[in-house]
Protein backbone atom coordinates (compact mmCIF):
# COMPACT_ATOMS: atom_id res chain seq x y z
CA UNK A 1 0.00 0.00 0.00
CA UNK A 2 1.18 3.44 -0.79
CA UNK A 3 1.41 5.67 2.20
CA UNK A 4 1.16 8.79 0.08
CA UNK A 5 -1.21 11.16 1.78
CA UNK A 6 -2.44 14.17 -0.11
CA UNK A 7 -3.13 17.47 1.55
CA UNK A 8 -6.82 16.78 0.91
CA UNK A 9 -6.48 13.45 2.67
CA UNK A 10 -5.06 15.20 5.71
CA UNK A 11 -7.86 17.76 5.60
CA UNK A 12 -10.42 14.97 5.43
CA UNK A 13 -8.85 13.15 8.37
CA UNK A 14 -8.80 16.37 10.36
CA UNK A 15 -12.47 16.93 9.68
CA UNK A 16 -13.27 13.35 10.72
CA UNK A 17 -11.35 14.10 13.92
CA UNK A 18 -13.12 17.47 14.29
CA UNK A 19 -9.99 19.61 14.30
CA UNK A 20 -10.04 22.75 12.19
CA UNK A 21 -6.39 22.72 11.18
CA UNK A 22 -4.89 25.89 9.77
CA UNK A 23 -3.37 25.95 6.30
CA UNK A 24 0.10 25.85 7.87
CA UNK A 25 -0.79 22.85 9.97
CA UNK A 26 -2.17 21.02 6.95
CA UNK A 27 1.07 21.70 5.09
CA UNK A 28 3.19 20.53 7.97
CA UNK A 29 1.23 17.34 8.65
CA UNK A 30 1.09 16.63 4.95
CA UNK A 31 4.88 16.72 4.95
CA UNK A 32 5.45 14.79 8.20
CA UNK A 33 2.90 12.00 8.03
CA UNK A 34 4.24 10.18 4.95
CA UNK A 35 7.62 9.59 6.63
CA UNK A 36 5.94 8.23 9.73
CA UNK A 37 3.55 6.11 7.66
CA UNK A 38 6.43 4.69 5.67
CA UNK A 39 7.99 3.54 8.89
CA UNK A 40 4.88 2.06 10.45
CA UNK A 41 3.71 0.44 7.21
CA UNK A 42 6.42 -2.14 7.87
CA UNK A 43 3.96 -4.03 10.07
CA UNK A 44 2.24 -5.40 6.96
CA UNK A 45 5.41 -7.02 5.72
CA UNK A 46 6.16 -8.40 9.15
CA UNK A 47 2.79 -10.09 9.37
CA UNK A 48 3.05 -11.45 5.84
CA UNK A 49 6.47 -12.90 6.45
CA UNK A 50 5.28 -14.56 9.65
CA UNK A 51 3.89 -17.04 7.14
CA UNK A 52 0.85 -18.09 9.14
CA UNK A 53 -2.32 -16.60 10.48
CA UNK A 54 -1.32 -14.62 13.52
CA UNK A 55 -4.15 -13.70 15.88
CA UNK A 56 -4.45 -9.99 16.56
CA UNK A 57 -3.89 -8.94 20.18
CA UNK A 58 -6.38 -6.36 21.41
CA UNK A 59 -5.79 -6.83 25.12
CA UNK A 60 -2.41 -7.53 26.67
CA UNK A 61 -3.92 -9.57 29.48
CA UNK A 62 -6.22 -12.40 28.41
CA UNK A 63 -9.20 -11.98 30.71
CA UNK A 64 -12.90 -12.36 29.89
CA UNK A 65 -16.28 -11.85 31.51
CA UNK A 66 -15.41 -8.93 33.74
CA UNK A 67 -18.83 -7.79 34.85
CA UNK A 68 -20.55 -6.09 37.74
CA UNK A 69 -23.83 -6.73 39.49
CA UNK A 70 -26.78 -4.60 38.45
CA UNK A 71 -26.74 -2.55 41.64
CA UNK A 72 -27.12 1.23 41.74
CA UNK A 73 -24.05 3.14 42.94
CA UNK A 74 -24.06 6.78 43.89
CA UNK A 75 -22.86 8.97 41.02
CA UNK A 76 -22.24 12.70 40.87
CA UNK A 77 -24.55 15.44 42.05
CA UNK A 78 -25.77 17.74 39.26
CA UNK A 79 -23.45 20.43 40.62
CA UNK A 80 -20.46 18.12 40.42
CA UNK A 81 -21.50 16.94 36.98
CA UNK A 82 -21.76 20.51 35.71
CA UNK A 83 -18.73 21.81 37.61
CA UNK A 84 -16.47 21.77 34.56
CA UNK A 85 -19.08 22.88 32.03
CA UNK A 86 -18.18 25.85 29.85
CA UNK A 87 -21.84 26.89 30.12
CA UNK A 88 -24.99 25.50 31.70
CA UNK A 89 -28.66 26.36 32.09
CA UNK A 90 -31.57 24.66 33.85
CA UNK A 91 -29.23 22.00 35.26
CA UNK A 92 -28.21 21.04 31.75
CA UNK A 93 -25.06 21.52 29.70
CA UNK A 94 -25.50 24.48 27.39
CA UNK A 95 -23.96 23.96 23.97
CA UNK A 96 -24.14 25.96 20.74
CA UNK A 97 -26.85 25.07 18.27
CA UNK A 98 -26.45 21.57 16.90
CA UNK A 99 -26.55 21.06 13.16
CA UNK A 100 -27.24 17.79 11.46
CA UNK A 101 -29.73 15.26 12.57
CA UNK A 102 -30.92 14.29 15.96
Amino acid sequence: MSSALSREDVAHLASLARISLSEDELDRLGAELPAILDHVAAVQGVVESAGEDVAPMSHPVPVANVMREDVVRPGLTPDEALSGAPASEEQRFLVPKILGEE
Binding site: R18, S20, L21, H39, V47, P60, V61, R68
Partner: protein
Protein backbone atom coordinates in the same frame (compact mmCIF):
# COMPACT_ATOMS: atom_id res chain seq x y z
CA UNK B 1 18.90 21.44 50.85
CA UNK B 2 17.34 20.21 54.06
CA UNK B 3 18.60 16.87 55.34
CA UNK B 4 15.04 15.63 55.27
CA UNK B 5 14.86 15.94 51.49
CA UNK B 6 18.03 13.87 51.11
CA UNK B 7 16.33 10.89 52.70
CA UNK B 8 14.49 8.23 50.78
CA UNK B 9 10.94 7.08 51.45
CA UNK B 10 11.93 4.00 53.46
CA UNK B 11 14.19 6.04 55.72
CA UNK B 12 11.57 8.74 56.16
CA UNK B 13 8.96 6.12 56.99
CA UNK B 14 11.24 4.68 59.63
CA UNK B 15 11.91 8.07 61.21
CA UNK B 16 8.23 8.96 61.13
CA UNK B 17 7.32 5.66 62.76
CA UNK B 18 10.00 6.15 65.37
CA UNK B 19 8.76 9.64 66.16
CA UNK B 20 12.08 11.22 65.15
CA UNK B 21 10.39 13.54 62.66
CA UNK B 22 6.88 14.63 61.89
CA UNK B 23 5.16 14.52 58.55
CA UNK B 24 4.56 18.25 58.84
CA UNK B 25 8.34 18.79 58.98
CA UNK B 26 9.04 16.37 56.16
CA UNK B 27 6.31 17.77 53.95
CA UNK B 28 7.31 21.36 54.64
CA UNK B 29 10.94 20.56 53.84
CA UNK B 30 9.92 19.23 50.44
CA UNK B 31 7.63 22.17 49.75
CA UNK B 32 10.54 24.46 50.59
CA UNK B 33 12.80 22.55 48.27
CA UNK B 34 10.22 22.95 45.51
CA UNK B 35 10.19 26.67 46.27
CA UNK B 36 13.98 26.76 45.97
CA UNK B 37 14.55 24.88 42.74
CA UNK B 38 11.36 24.48 40.77
CA UNK B 39 11.55 27.83 39.04
CA UNK B 40 14.59 26.37 37.26
CA UNK B 41 13.10 22.92 36.66
CA UNK B 42 9.38 23.43 36.16
CA UNK B 43 8.72 19.92 37.40
CA UNK B 44 5.41 20.99 38.93
CA UNK B 45 2.34 22.41 37.22
CA UNK B 46 0.59 22.84 40.52
CA UNK B 47 1.81 22.72 44.11
CA UNK B 48 -0.86 21.59 46.56
CA UNK B 49 0.69 23.11 49.66
CA UNK B 50 -2.53 23.42 51.61
CA UNK B 51 -3.86 19.92 51.06
CA UNK B 52 -0.41 18.34 51.49
CA UNK B 53 0.10 20.08 54.82
CA UNK B 54 -3.41 19.13 55.93
CA UNK B 55 -2.73 15.47 55.19
CA UNK B 56 0.61 15.69 56.98
CA UNK B 57 -0.95 17.23 60.07
CA UNK B 58 -3.68 14.61 60.06
CA UNK B 59 -1.18 11.75 59.86
CA UNK B 60 0.90 13.28 62.66
CA UNK B 61 -2.20 13.57 64.83
CA UNK B 62 -3.18 9.98 64.18
CA UNK B 63 0.34 8.79 65.00
CA UNK B 64 0.41 10.90 68.14
CA UNK B 65 -2.89 9.34 69.17
CA UNK B 66 -1.25 5.94 68.92
CA UNK B 67 -3.17 4.91 65.84
CA UNK B 68 -1.70 2.19 63.68
CA UNK B 69 -1.01 3.91 60.34
CA UNK B 70 0.23 2.46 57.03
CA UNK B 71 3.98 2.22 56.40
CA UNK B 72 4.30 5.23 54.12
CA UNK B 73 1.85 7.43 56.07
CA UNK B 74 3.30 10.93 56.19
CA UNK B 75 5.81 10.43 53.36
CA UNK B 76 5.02 12.98 50.65
CA UNK B 77 4.51 12.09 47.03
CA UNK B 78 4.22 13.95 43.73
CA UNK B 79 1.59 12.91 41.20
CA UNK B 80 1.77 13.21 37.44
CA UNK B 81 -0.78 15.72 36.25
CA UNK B 82 -2.51 13.08 34.16
CA UNK B 83 -4.01 11.53 37.29
CA UNK B 84 -7.26 12.94 38.68
CA UNK B 85 -7.26 14.69 42.05
CA UNK B 86 -10.35 16.39 43.47
CA UNK B 87 -8.38 18.95 45.46
CA UNK B 88 -5.92 20.01 42.78
CA UNK B 89 -6.38 20.77 39.08
CA UNK B 90 -5.69 18.07 36.52
CA UNK B 91 -4.58 19.48 33.18
CA UNK B 92 -2.87 16.58 31.42
CA UNK B 93 -0.33 19.21 30.37
CA UNK B 94 -2.86 20.57 27.89
CA UNK B 95 -4.58 23.90 27.30
CA UNK B 96 -7.66 21.79 26.74
CA UNK B 97 -7.97 21.10 30.47
CA UNK B 98 -6.50 24.30 31.88
CA UNK B 99 -7.83 24.78 35.40
CA UNK B 100 -10.03 21.68 35.31
CA UNK B 101 -10.64 20.22 38.77
CA UNK B 102 -12.01 16.68 38.44
CA UNK B 103 -15.09 15.82 40.50
CA UNK B 104 -13.56 12.45 41.37
CA UNK B 105 -10.23 10.98 42.47
CA UNK B 106 -8.36 8.37 40.49
CA UNK B 107 -8.26 5.02 42.29
CA UNK B 108 -4.49 5.36 42.76
CA UNK B 109 -5.02 8.77 44.37
CA UNK B 110 -7.71 7.36 46.64
CA UNK B 111 -5.16 4.73 47.68
CA UNK B 112 -2.49 7.36 48.33
CA UNK B 113 -4.98 9.21 50.52
CA UNK B 114 -6.01 6.06 52.35
CA UNK B 115 -2.32 5.31 53.00
CA UNK B 116 -1.75 8.83 54.34
CA UNK B 117 0.70 10.17 51.75
CA UNK B 118 0.58 13.98 51.46
CA UNK B 119 0.28 14.93 47.78
CA UNK B 120 2.81 17.69 47.16
CA UNK B 121 1.50 18.64 43.75
CA UNK B 122 0.93 17.71 40.17
CA UNK B 123 3.93 17.19 37.93
CA UNK B 124 4.57 18.41 34.44
CA UNK B 125 4.32 16.13 31.43
CA UNK B 126 4.16 16.04 27.68
CA UNK B 127 0.62 16.99 26.70
CA UNK B 128 -1.68 14.01 27.32
CA UNK B 129 1.52 12.01 27.96
CA UNK B 130 2.53 12.20 24.31
CA UNK B 131 6.24 12.68 24.07
CA UNK B 132 9.64 11.52 25.25
CA UNK B 133 11.08 14.85 26.34
CA UNK B 134 8.46 16.92 28.21
CA UNK B 135 8.88 19.55 25.53
CA UNK B 136 5.27 18.94 24.48
CA UNK B 137 3.82 20.32 27.68
CA UNK B 138 1.49 23.21 26.90
CA UNK B 139 2.85 24.93 30.01
CA UNK B 140 6.50 24.84 29.04
CA UNK B 141 9.10 22.08 29.36
CA UNK B 142 10.52 20.52 32.48
CA UNK B 143 14.31 20.62 32.64
CA UNK B 144 16.73 17.90 33.60
CA UNK B 145 18.23 18.63 37.06
CA UNK B 146 21.54 17.13 35.89
CA UNK B 147 21.76 19.77 33.18
CA UNK B 148 18.99 22.29 32.86
CA UNK B 149 19.74 22.75 29.17
CA UNK B 150 18.61 19.19 28.65
CA UNK B 151 15.32 17.38 28.58
CA UNK B 152 14.39 15.14 31.53
CA UNK B 153 12.80 12.52 29.25
CA UNK B 154 9.10 12.04 29.06
CA UNK B 155 6.33 11.93 29.35
CA UNK B 156 6.66 11.59 33.14
CA UNK B 157 9.55 14.06 33.03
CA UNK B 158 8.11 16.23 35.79
CA UNK B 159 7.83 13.29 38.17
CA UNK B 160 11.35 12.14 37.29
CA UNK B 161 12.88 15.60 37.74
CA UNK B 162 11.03 16.12 41.02
CA UNK B 163 12.40 12.89 42.47
CA UNK B 164 15.90 13.38 41.07
CA UNK B 165 16.14 16.93 42.43
CA UNK B 166 14.85 15.94 45.89
CA UNK B 167 11.66 17.91 45.52
CA UNK B 168 9.83 14.68 46.33
CA UNK B 169 10.99 11.32 47.63
CA UNK B 170 8.35 9.54 45.59
CA UNK B 171 6.27 10.19 42.52
CA UNK B 172 3.67 8.51 40.38
CA UNK B 173 4.13 8.45 36.64
CA UNK B 174 2.39 6.75 33.76
CA UNK B 175 4.01 4.63 31.12
CA UNK B 176 2.43 3.96 27.71
CA UNK B 177 5.59 3.37 25.67
CA UNK B 178 8.31 4.01 28.24
CA UNK B 179 7.10 7.21 29.88
CA UNK B 180 8.19 6.15 33.37
CA UNK B 181 11.30 4.18 32.54
CA UNK B 182 12.88 6.53 29.98
CA UNK B 183 12.70 9.71 32.12
CA UNK B 184 13.85 7.56 35.04
CA UNK B 185 16.95 6.68 33.02
CA UNK B 186 17.46 10.27 31.85
CA UNK B 187 17.34 11.70 35.38
CA UNK B 188 18.96 8.85 37.31
CA UNK B 189 15.94 7.57 39.23
CA UNK B 190 14.19 4.23 39.51
CA UNK B 191 11.08 3.96 37.36
CA UNK B 192 8.77 0.97 37.25
CA UNK B 193 6.03 0.08 34.78
CA UNK B 194 3.97 -2.67 36.40
CA UNK B 195 2.33 -5.56 34.56
CA UNK B 196 -0.58 -4.25 32.51
CA UNK B 197 -3.61 -4.49 34.77
CA UNK B 198 -1.52 -4.49 37.92
CA UNK B 199 -2.44 -0.92 38.83
CA UNK B 200 -5.84 0.65 38.25
CA UNK B 201 -6.23 3.08 35.37
CA UNK B 202 -9.51 4.45 36.74
CA UNK B 203 -9.27 8.23 36.91
CA UNK B 204 -6.09 8.40 34.88
CA UNK B 205 -6.64 10.48 31.73
CA UNK B 206 -6.34 7.85 29.01
CA UNK B 207 -3.78 8.03 26.28
CA UNK B 208 -3.75 4.50 24.83
CA UNK B 209 -5.97 2.24 26.88
CA UNK B 210 -4.36 -1.07 26.04
CA UNK B 211 -0.87 0.23 26.87
CA UNK B 212 -1.18 2.74 29.74
CA UNK B 213 0.02 1.82 33.23
CA UNK B 214 0.61 3.89 36.35
CA UNK B 215 3.82 3.19 38.22
CA UNK B 216 6.19 4.44 40.93
CA UNK B 217 9.31 6.57 40.61
CA UNK B 218 11.82 6.85 43.46
CA UNK B 219 15.52 7.14 44.24
CA UNK B 220 15.83 3.52 45.36
CA UNK B 221 14.41 0.17 44.35
CA UNK B 222 12.93 -0.37 47.81
CA UNK B 223 11.23 3.03 47.79
CA UNK B 224 9.69 2.26 44.42
CA UNK B 225 8.46 -1.09 45.73
CA UNK B 226 6.90 0.54 48.79
CA UNK B 227 4.93 2.95 46.60
CA UNK B 228 4.06 0.15 44.16
CA UNK B 229 2.53 -1.79 47.02
CA UNK B 230 0.33 1.17 47.99
CA UNK B 231 -1.19 1.76 44.57
CA UNK B 232 -1.32 -1.76 43.06
CA UNK B 233 -4.08 -4.32 43.24
CA UNK B 234 -7.45 -5.13 41.81
CA UNK B 235 -9.93 -2.34 41.16
CA UNK B 236 -13.49 -3.28 40.22
CA UNK B 237 -13.82 0.08 38.43
CA UNK B 238 -11.19 -0.92 35.87
CA UNK B 239 -12.27 -3.92 33.78
CA UNK B 240 -8.67 -4.55 32.72
CA UNK B 241 -7.43 -4.66 36.30
CA UNK B 242 -6.05 -8.05 37.31
CA UNK B 243 -8.03 -9.83 40.00
CA UNK B 244 -5.11 -11.58 41.68
CA UNK B 245 -2.86 -10.85 44.64
CA UNK B 246 -0.07 -8.35 44.00
CA UNK B 247 3.32 -10.07 44.01
CA UNK B 248 5.36 -9.23 47.10
CA UNK B 249 7.47 -6.54 45.51
CA UNK B 250 8.69 -5.12 48.82
CA UNK B 251 10.11 -8.45 49.93
CA UNK B 252 11.75 -8.83 46.54
CA UNK B 253 13.28 -5.35 46.76
CA UNK B 254 14.68 -6.22 50.18
CA UNK B 255 16.01 -9.57 48.95
CA UNK B 256 18.12 -8.49 45.96
CA UNK B 257 19.69 -11.85 45.23
CA UNK B 258 20.60 -12.93 41.69
CA UNK B 259 22.63 -16.02 42.47
CA UNK B 260 21.40 -18.85 40.28
CA UNK B 261 19.16 -16.55 38.21
CA UNK B 262 19.32 -16.62 34.44
CA UNK B 263 19.41 -13.20 32.84
CA UNK B 264 18.99 -12.67 29.10
CA UNK B 265 20.48 -9.76 27.18
CA UNK B 266 18.08 -8.82 24.39
CA UNK B 267 20.26 -8.98 21.29
CA UNK B 268 18.09 -6.54 19.32
CA UNK B 269 18.28 -3.81 21.98
CA UNK B 270 21.89 -2.67 21.87
CA UNK B 271 24.90 -2.20 19.68
CA UNK B 272 24.47 -0.12 16.57
CA UNK B 273 22.61 3.13 17.15
CA UNK B 274 23.30 3.09 20.87
CA UNK B 275 25.43 5.83 22.39
CA UNK B 276 28.86 4.38 23.35
CA UNK B 277 28.65 5.75 26.88
CA UNK B 278 25.26 4.09 27.34
CA UNK B 279 26.48 0.79 25.92
CA UNK B 280 29.57 0.85 28.14
CA UNK B 281 27.55 1.54 31.29
CA UNK B 282 25.17 -1.24 30.32
CA UNK B 283 27.96 -3.73 29.66
CA UNK B 284 29.50 -2.85 33.02
CA UNK B 285 26.23 -3.44 34.82
CA UNK B 286 25.74 -6.80 33.19
CA UNK B 287 29.28 -7.76 34.19
CA UNK B 288 28.40 -6.94 37.80
CA UNK B 289 25.34 -9.18 37.66
CA UNK B 290 27.42 -12.05 36.34
CA UNK B 291 29.92 -11.56 39.12
CA UNK B 292 27.06 -11.61 41.64
CA UNK B 293 26.18 -15.10 40.54
CA UNK B 294 23.70 -14.62 37.73
CA UNK B 295 24.04 -16.62 34.55
CA UNK B 296 23.97 -14.11 31.69
CA UNK B 297 23.09 -15.24 28.19
CA UNK B 298 22.08 -13.54 24.98
CA UNK B 299 18.50 -13.97 23.79
CA UNK B 300 16.98 -13.19 20.41
CA UNK B 301 13.67 -11.34 20.23
CA UNK B 302 13.49 -10.66 16.49
CA UNK B 303 10.04 -9.05 16.51
CA UNK B 304 11.14 -6.34 18.94
CA UNK B 305 12.55 -4.35 16.06
CA UNK B 306 9.02 -3.87 14.78
CA UNK B 307 7.78 -2.63 18.12
CA UNK B 308 7.96 1.04 17.21
CA UNK B 309 6.02 0.54 13.99
CA UNK B 310 3.30 -1.42 15.80
CA UNK B 311 3.27 1.04 18.68
CA UNK B 312 2.91 4.08 16.44
CA UNK B 313 -0.22 2.50 14.98
CA UNK B 314 -1.88 1.04 18.06
CA UNK B 315 -1.20 4.04 20.27
CA UNK B 316 -2.39 6.83 17.92
CA UNK B 317 -5.46 4.78 16.99
CA UNK B 318 -6.50 4.53 20.62
CA UNK B 319 -5.48 8.15 21.17
CA UNK B 320 -7.73 9.34 18.34
CA UNK B 321 -10.70 7.70 20.03
CA UNK B 322 -9.80 8.43 23.67
CA UNK B 323 -9.28 12.14 22.99
CA UNK B 324 -12.53 12.52 21.06
CA UNK B 325 -14.30 13.37 24.32
CA UNK B 326 -12.45 16.68 24.53
CA UNK B 327 -15.03 18.53 22.50
CA UNK B 328 -15.77 21.71 24.51
CA UNK B 329 -19.28 20.55 25.35
CA UNK B 330 -19.10 19.23 28.95
CA UNK B 331 -15.74 20.41 30.28
CA UNK B 332 -12.52 21.96 29.15
CA UNK B 333 -11.63 24.74 26.78
CA UNK B 334 -14.35 26.21 24.57
CA UNK B 335 -13.41 28.66 21.87
CA UNK B 336 -15.47 29.98 19.01
CA UNK B 337 -14.05 30.10 15.50
CA UNK B 338 -12.90 33.54 14.49
CA UNK B 339 -15.09 35.49 12.13
CA UNK B 340 -18.01 33.08 12.32
CA UNK B 341 -21.13 34.77 13.65
CA UNK B 342 -23.35 32.43 15.71
CA UNK B 343 -21.19 29.30 15.27
CA UNK B 344 -22.67 25.80 15.55
CA UNK B 345 -21.64 23.16 18.09
CA UNK B 346 -19.72 21.41 15.34
CA UNK B 347 -17.76 24.55 14.50
CA UNK B 348 -17.04 25.23 18.15
CA UNK B 349 -15.83 21.66 18.63
CA UNK B 350 -13.43 21.89 15.72
CA UNK B 351 -12.13 25.30 16.72
CA UNK B 352 -11.70 24.26 20.37
CA UNK B 353 -9.84 21.11 19.45
CA UNK B 354 -7.58 23.10 17.17
CA UNK B 355 -6.87 25.65 19.88
CA UNK B 356 -6.74 23.22 22.80
CA UNK B 357 -4.44 20.54 21.41
CA UNK B 358 -0.77 20.99 20.64
CA UNK B 359 1.04 19.82 17.51
CA UNK B 360 2.10 16.40 18.78
CA UNK B 361 -1.41 15.56 19.97
CA UNK B 362 -2.93 16.63 16.66
CA UNK B 363 -0.31 14.65 14.76
CA UNK B 364 -1.19 11.49 16.64
CA UNK B 365 -4.94 12.02 16.40
CA UNK B 366 -4.72 12.44 12.63
CA UNK B 367 -2.39 9.45 12.31
CA UNK B 368 -4.72 7.29 14.42
CA UNK B 369 -7.80 8.45 12.52
CA UNK B 370 -6.06 7.34 9.37
CA UNK B 371 -4.98 3.95 10.75
CA UNK B 372 -8.55 3.13 11.78
CA UNK B 373 -10.35 4.45 8.73
CA UNK B 374 -12.17 2.05 6.49
CA UNK B 375 -9.97 0.51 3.88
CA UNK B 376 -6.85 0.96 5.99
CA UNK B 377 -7.82 -0.77 9.22
CA UNK B 378 -6.59 -4.24 8.27
CA UNK B 379 -3.32 -3.03 6.80
CA UNK B 380 -2.49 -0.74 9.70
CA UNK B 381 -4.31 -1.30 12.98
CA UNK B 382 -5.02 -4.96 12.25
CA UNK B 383 -1.42 -5.73 11.28
CA UNK B 384 -0.08 -3.82 14.27
CA UNK B 385 -2.16 -5.97 16.58
CA UNK B 386 -0.71 -9.06 14.97
CA UNK B 387 2.79 -7.72 15.53
CA UNK B 388 1.84 -7.40 19.19
CA UNK B 389 1.14 -11.10 19.19
CA UNK B 390 4.54 -11.78 17.62
CA UNK B 391 6.25 -9.65 20.26
CA UNK B 392 4.37 -11.43 23.04
CA UNK B 393 5.55 -14.72 21.54
CA UNK B 394 9.14 -13.50 21.58
CA UNK B 395 8.75 -12.67 25.25
CA UNK B 396 7.21 -16.06 25.98
CA UNK B 397 10.02 -17.86 24.17
CA UNK B 398 12.65 -15.75 25.93
CA UNK B 399 11.15 -16.43 29.34
CA UNK B 400 11.34 -20.14 28.60
CA UNK B 401 15.10 -19.67 28.59
CA UNK B 402 15.71 -16.96 31.17
CA UNK B 403 14.13 -15.50 34.30
CA UNK B 404 14.62 -11.86 33.43
CA UNK B 405 15.56 -9.87 30.33
CA UNK B 406 17.88 -6.91 30.40
CA UNK B 407 18.62 -4.02 28.04
CA UNK B 408 19.58 -0.36 28.16
CA UNK B 409 16.47 1.69 28.96
CA UNK B 410 17.14 4.17 26.17
CA UNK B 411 19.70 4.36 23.35
CA UNK B 412 21.07 7.71 24.51
CA UNK B 413 21.41 9.94 27.52
CA UNK B 414 19.35 13.12 27.83
CA UNK B 415 19.49 15.37 24.79
CA UNK B 416 19.38 19.14 24.59
CA UNK B 417 16.07 20.92 24.55
CA UNK B 418 14.95 21.45 20.98
CA UNK B 419 17.49 19.01 19.58
CA UNK B 420 14.89 16.59 18.19
CA UNK B 421 11.86 18.84 18.03
CA UNK B 422 11.79 19.08 14.26
CA UNK B 423 11.91 15.38 13.61
CA UNK B 424 9.05 13.49 15.21
CA UNK B 425 10.21 10.17 13.85
CA UNK B 426 13.66 10.56 15.41
CA UNK B 427 11.97 11.22 18.74
CA UNK B 428 9.78 8.13 18.32
CA UNK B 429 12.84 5.94 17.75
CA UNK B 430 14.08 6.81 21.25
CA UNK B 431 11.39 4.46 22.63
CA UNK B 432 12.81 1.35 20.96
CA UNK B 433 13.81 -0.41 24.20
CA UNK B 434 10.77 0.37 26.29
CA UNK B 435 7.90 -0.18 23.85
CA UNK B 436 7.92 -4.01 23.67
CA UNK B 437 6.94 -4.27 27.34
CA UNK B 438 3.87 -2.07 26.79
CA UNK B 439 2.81 -3.94 23.69
CA UNK B 440 3.02 -7.28 25.51
CA UNK B 441 1.84 -6.02 28.90
CA UNK B 442 4.88 -7.24 30.85
CA UNK B 443 6.53 -5.38 33.74
CA UNK B 444 9.69 -3.34 33.24
CA UNK B 445 11.90 -1.41 35.62
CA UNK B 446 14.62 1.10 34.85
CA UNK B 447 17.50 1.30 37.31
CA UNK B 448 20.10 4.07 37.19
CA UNK B 449 23.54 2.48 36.91
CA UNK B 450 25.83 5.48 36.81
CA UNK B 451 26.86 8.25 34.47
CA UNK B 452 27.82 7.77 30.85
CA UNK B 453 31.54 8.29 30.38
CA UNK B 454 30.95 10.30 27.21
CA UNK B 455 28.28 12.76 28.39
CA UNK B 456 28.46 12.55 32.17
CA UNK B 457 24.70 12.03 32.29
CA UNK B 458 22.69 9.26 33.95
CA UNK B 459 22.23 5.91 32.23
CA UNK B 460 19.43 3.44 32.99
CA UNK B 461 19.28 -0.30 32.64
CA UNK B 462 15.93 -1.95 32.07
CA UNK B 463 14.79 -5.29 33.48
CA UNK B 464 11.81 -7.11 32.04
CA UNK B 465 9.92 -10.08 33.48
CA UNK B 466 6.85 -12.11 32.54
CA UNK B 467 3.41 -10.67 33.27
CA UNK B 468 2.53 -10.87 36.97
CA UNK B 469 6.17 -11.43 37.96
CA UNK B 470 6.78 -7.81 38.95
CA UNK B 471 8.68 -9.01 42.00
CA UNK B 472 11.36 -10.51 39.76
CA UNK B 473 12.47 -7.17 38.34
CA UNK B 474 12.56 -5.65 41.83
CA UNK B 475 14.74 -8.50 43.05
CA UNK B 476 17.26 -8.22 40.22
CA UNK B 477 17.29 -4.41 40.31
CA UNK B 478 17.85 -4.43 44.07
CA UNK B 479 20.81 -6.78 43.60
CA UNK B 480 22.40 -4.57 40.97
CA UNK B 481 21.63 -1.40 42.92
CA UNK B 482 23.99 -2.62 45.66
CA UNK B 483 26.76 -3.23 43.16
CA UNK B 484 26.76 -0.05 41.11
CA UNK B 485 27.38 3.47 42.25
CA UNK B 486 23.95 5.05 41.90
CA UNK B 487 24.32 8.57 40.60
CA UNK B 488 23.52 11.10 43.30
CA UNK B 489 22.63 14.60 42.28
CA UNK B 490 24.36 17.04 44.58
CA UNK B 491 22.77 20.19 43.22
CA UNK B 492 20.62 21.23 40.28
CA UNK B 493 23.02 22.22 37.52
Amino acid sequence: MSDLTRLGAAELAEKLAGGEVTSVDVTRAHLERIGEVDSRLHAFLHVGEESAMATAADVDARRAAGEDVPTLAGVPVAVKDLINTTDQPTTAGSRMLEGWVPPYDATVVARLRAAGLPILGKTNLDEFAMGSSNEHSAYGPTRNPWDTDRIPGGSSGGSAAAVASHEAPLALGTDTGGSIRQPGAMTGVVGMKPTYGGVSRYGVVAMASSLDQVGPMARSVLDAALLHEVVAGHDPLDSTSIDAPVPDVVAAARRGDVSGLKIGIVRELGGEGFQPGVQAAFDGAVEQLAQAGAEVVEVACPSFRHGIAAYYLVMPSEVSSNLARFDAMRYGLRVSPEGVPDPSAEQVMSASRDAGFGDEVKRRIVLGTYALSSGYYDAYYGSAQKVRTLIARDFAAAFEQVDVLVSPTAPTTAWRLGEKSDDPLAMYLEDVCTIPANLAGVPGLSLPVGLADDTGLPVGVQFLAPALADDRVYNVAAALERLVAAPVLEEVR
